[in-house]
């Protein structure tokens, strides 16, 4: 038990080290900055457009939604991608070969990914506060909502991301996941109100955490009267909580089983076989 706790603590350390490596790596930082700049650019373009049925800036609404998307996208696609890549290159096998290494590895990944999410949410929000008008952040309720949506969002997406990462057979196929989640973003009301989509697409969108993360962030940061353009003319906090908690429960239930199954299969020869395959493609 003691060793397990020690490994968990080492995992947090590992997460910090890798987060620091990322922050001091020019290539990684350039990628983060460019993708953030693209989103801010899109919002700026829509700054003067208004949300249909209101006089409120579409760009400002988008800003709030994109914060939700940051959580969902990183928690699902980035974590899954990293797991698939690091299974392929043998990082995971190294973790498996040391005592309680898998605990340390997974906690490390969760810490790093959470750190990336926090940084991207904070930097987008701070940029937005300077560039956009109308964000209703002057009261404590806004920050409280932001914090619980963020926390529950991490809990709902990270375990699912880890599961997805273990299921994909290679890093390349995990790349497909980015496309799928990109498609999901399109029907989750991030860049345009979901109410303008056909009903059946609205239902699909509402089945996944992305829509609710966007909704939750809008409820935190936008004036109360904007709830009128949402489904049911409400911020639907109980439903947001329910859906995200549901995904959290499913993720936490399945993740240990799936991850253990994945870890069991790792050995020197499976990594060598993958390496050979990857080198053949390259």
């Amino acid at each position: 038990m003691n060793a397990q706790l020690a490994a968990a603590r080492l995992g947090v350390r590992r997460g910090w080290i890798e987060l620091r490596q990322m922050m001091t790596n020019a290539h990684d930082m350039a990628l983060v900055t460019i993708s953030a700049a693209v989103f801010v650019g899109v919002m700026l373009f829509s700054r003067t457009a208004s949300v249909p049925g209101t006089g409120f800036s579409l760009g400002t609404t988008m800003l709030a939604s994109v914060l939700g998307m940051n959580i969902g996208f990183n928690g699902l696609a980035s974590l899954a991608g990293v797991l698939a890549v690091e299974r392929e290159d043998g990082t995971l096998l190294r973790a498996k070969a040391i005592p309680h290494g898998m605990i340390g590895y997974l906690i490390g990944k969760i810490v790093t990914t959470s750190g990336v999410i926090l940084i991207s949410v904070a930097s987008t929000l701070i940029t937005g506060l300077f560039l956009f008008r109308g964000l209703a952040v002057g009261h404590a309720g806004a920050w409280l909502t932001l914090i619980w949506v963020l926390a529950l969002g991490l809990a709902a997406t990270l375990p699912i991301g880890a599961i997805l990462g273990s299921l994909f057979p290679s890093a390349r196929s995990a790349g497909l996941l980015t496309l799928v989640i990109g498609g999901l973003v399109a029907i989750s009301g991030i860049f345009y109100p979901i109410t303008h989509l056909p009903h059946w697409l609205q239902w699909i969108g509402q089945a996944f955490p992305l829509y609710w993360l966007g909704l939750g962030m809008r409820s935190a940061l936008l004036p109360a009267n904007l709830a009128s353009v949402e489904i049911g003319h409400s911020w639907r906090h109980p439903a947001t909580f329910g859906v995200l908690a549901g995904w959290t429960a499913v993720g936490l239930m399945l993740a240990p089983v799936v991850l253990r199954r994945m870890a069991r299969r790792e050995s020197g020869s499976t990594v060598a076989a993958r390496r050979e395959k990857a080198l053949l493609r390259a």
């Binding site: 060793a3 397990q4 020690a6 080290i17 690091e86 290159d89 040391i98 309680h100 020197g268 020869s269």
Partner: protein, 332 residues
């Protein structure tokens, strides 16, 4: 450690390491494999192999590709489930080895591009700290990180990022990661592939140090017969999922009934003649020609000759068990 010293250590150990002699205490048996079988679908990869390894012993596993070497090692490492047979590694069945058992093992993995952004020292310190709760009296875990870096010759690169290491330096790092927990049993899969001669020599010294000073048992697979001969107290040859030979390099070449080669010159002419019984042949030679024999050489079959002969014999399948019967310790 000088080369002379090494060979003395080697030969002295080889004397008692040739098989489970009755005076080896049971506690010294680190690996005990009995009738190990592995089947994938309908293909049998291992047909019931048995062997043991003792504390401080260096065991080389040789064999052509597809002979079952990697499968055997991965079963011992606890990374692969077996189909049948009994396996005990450090007194534990690897299929149910817990983390405390894992802490006593070292596995040298072939890195590719993992941990690219980590610095050498940072990575070794981090991975080593997982072993700290498993220190034992007389075996403090993990290895002191700077000492370890020095031992594998990476002191100059302690602050280098892993991705900036050369292929050979990366392999040294692989070895360091494998031994950071001061293992009682170390597995090495083709450890010196891609090493230059100097790195290979350093690595051999390190293996001897681990076996002698740390009393670590070392199991390595290799295609380099020279390396096996130099490093191993005992050599296992696997072919077609069976152990076709088990013994010291010396024993293998002596007991294999390959012929010796006798070379000499007489009146300025060179002669080469194979001989089943070289001693008698040379005696006859002298009886016949006396003083005119010069430059006499008798060459025993090298390990490579022995290996090739054994593998060919097993692959031809004419009588697969024959070579195994020739040695003291055989499968089954």
């Amino acid at each position: 450690m000088s080369v002379l010293n090494l060979s003395a250590v080697l030969s002295s150990r080889a004397l008692w390491a040739t098989g489970p002699s009755p005076d080896v205490p049971a506690a010294d048996v680190v690996i005990d494999v009995r009738d190990l079988r592995m089947r994938y679908g309908r293909t049998d990869v291992l047909h019931g192999i048995s062997f043991t390894a003792h504390r401080g012993e260096v065991l080389a596993v040789l064999g052509p590709n597809g002979a079952g070497k990697t499968t055997t090692i991965e079963i011992l490492e606890g990374f692969r489930m077996r189909s049948a047979g009994q396996v005990s590694v450090l007194g534990v069945d690897p299929a149910h080895g817990g983390e405390a058992w894992r802490a006593r093992l070292g596995v040298v993995l072939q890195s590719w591009r993992d941990h690219a952004k980590w610095q050498v020292r940072e990575l070794l310190a981090h991975l080593g700290s997982y072993y700290a709760p498993y220190s034992e009296p007389g075996r403090r875990r993990p290895w002191d990180v700077d000492e370890l870096i020095a031992a594998v010759g990476l002191t100059e690169h302690a602050r280098t990022k892993v991705r900036r290491l050369s292929g050979g330096q990366r392999r040294r790092l692989d070895v360091a990661i494998g031994i950071v927990g001061r293992p009682e049993l170390l597995f090495l899969d083709e450890p010196t592939a891609g090493f230059d001669p100097e790195a290979r020599r350093d690595f051999h010294d390190l293996v001897h140090r681990l076996a002698d000073q740390e009393e670590a048992t070392i199991v390595l697979t290799t295609h380099d017969l020279d390396e096996a001969e130099r490093l191993a107290d005992r050599i296992l040859i696997l072919a077609g999922g069976q152990i076709i030979a088990d013994g010291s390099a010396d024993e293998l070449s002596r007991r294999m009934s390959t012929q010796a080669e006798v070379r000499w010159s007489r009146d300025g002419q060179r002669f080469v003649h194979p001989a089943d019984e070289p001693t008698r042949f040379v005696r006859d030679l002298f009886r016949q020609y006396g003083e005119s024999i010069e430059d006499l050489e008798v060459r025993r079959a090298s390990l490579e000759d022995t290996y090739m002969a054994l593998v060919r014999q097993s692959e031809s399948g004419a009588d697969g068990d024959a070579p195994a019967r020739a040695f003291s310790v055989v499968a089954g």
